[in-house]
Symmetry: C2
Subunit: 256 residues, 2 copies
Amino acid sequence: MKYTVITGASSGIGYETALAFASKGKNLILTARREEKLKKLKEEIHKINDEVNVEIHLADLSINHEVYDLYESLKEYSIETWINNAGFGNFDSVGDQNLKKIESMLRLNNEALTILSTLYVRDYSDVEGAQLINVSSGGGYTVVADAVTYCATKFFVSAFTEGLAQELQSKGAQLKAKVLAPAATETEFAERSLDVESFSYNESVPQYHTAKEMADFMMDLYDSDQVVGIVDGQSYEFNLRRPIYPYADRSRNSDS
Amino acid sequence: MKYTVITGASSGIGYETALAFASKGKNLILTARREEKLKKLKEEIHKINDEVNVEIHLADLSINHEVYDLYESLKEYSIETWINNAGFGNFDSVGDQNLKKIESMLRLNNEALTILSTLYVRDYSDVEGAQLINVSSGGGYTVVADAVTYCATKFFVSAFTEGLAQELQSKGAQLKAKVLAPAATETEFAERSLDVESFSYNESVPQYHTAKEMADFMMDLYDSDQVVGIVDGQSYEFNLRRPIYPYADRSRNSDS
């Protein structure tokens, strides 16, 4: 029996993506910190499709050993798709940012994503149909004022995932790596980025997608042969694309 | 009395940059893990210019609390230039990479650099002549096969530093942030990236700069009004440039 893993599944794009995969009859392993939210999601999933298996694994992926513990706990499963969706943002000028929050953001958005991607690549490189999808952002291609450090974490995710996708292709691996780059999406992202109790996208953001719309784009990326699924920051159209960043496949040792 | 801080000063570009700043009569605070190397550098500096003060502060900046301890220990100094040069690379496919080494690389190349940059920005934003120079790489603009995770850390550095430079400019801050992007440079970088005892650039790399040449480019960047100093990966020419990545300075809250 095959499973789809979704990190950060308790809300937002992760939550809606879980519902979308369930609609396709996919068994799910859902991970996040908040058990109640995941239990509620599991109930929702079973209203849509009561034949899919749904496993809940709690983890705070900003904590290094919990990242390894999560992966270890999933060794018994056959995982056809791994989605690194967990991540958060921060809106502040660099001088004003809370460094403890920034450290958690780097560990979650980059360190955990790198560890989980690497472990999944090791185990599933040669498995037909296997996919690794990492969630970046439009901010992984354009730096946004007062979100500079957050954008830097997403530049990392985009460069890492695009590079991995091409490395896997050049090795003839079965596993495909893909990167999803949403623009503004109506989720808990704004509250957490701004450290506020509530936030109205309707009142504050000129244009945005709902989390359900982004989950539909995620499924388009999943179904496609392209590497990048990106929302255009001007038109808010979703485009499936080849890798965006330059990639040099020369011999080892020559770059600093 | 004003000082220039150089992290990773025990060898390579950091070592040569220390000599170059000493030649300009700058007092130096040198930091690295290896005390003997720094003591030897201090002797070399005093052969060039025995009137500059040279302070040695040992720190392993891949360890979070040592980053804060270093900055705290420098609170008494007036620091006119801060150079985040410490960093290392790794050459491996993603599936083959040693995750403990990768974690240290992320913590040093990104987490420490972000913390030290943020603390320096807080204290020196309004100090005339203050400069923050972060060392990235050509790999912070082009992803290189079998160095994908290393390049991702350098995409982070480039995006973070370019964004910070523009954020500071738009706020009318006195502090200037700049990014240096070397290509292959003859240093201990290759040994550490490849986990080998010795490496001959002469025999293995078609084109490269010496560390002294890169230190000269560092000084050109220091003396210029540009934000980016980058070595062209084809011609190996050094170019001073405006920021390379797109930057959006719109109102808060609207990007995910």
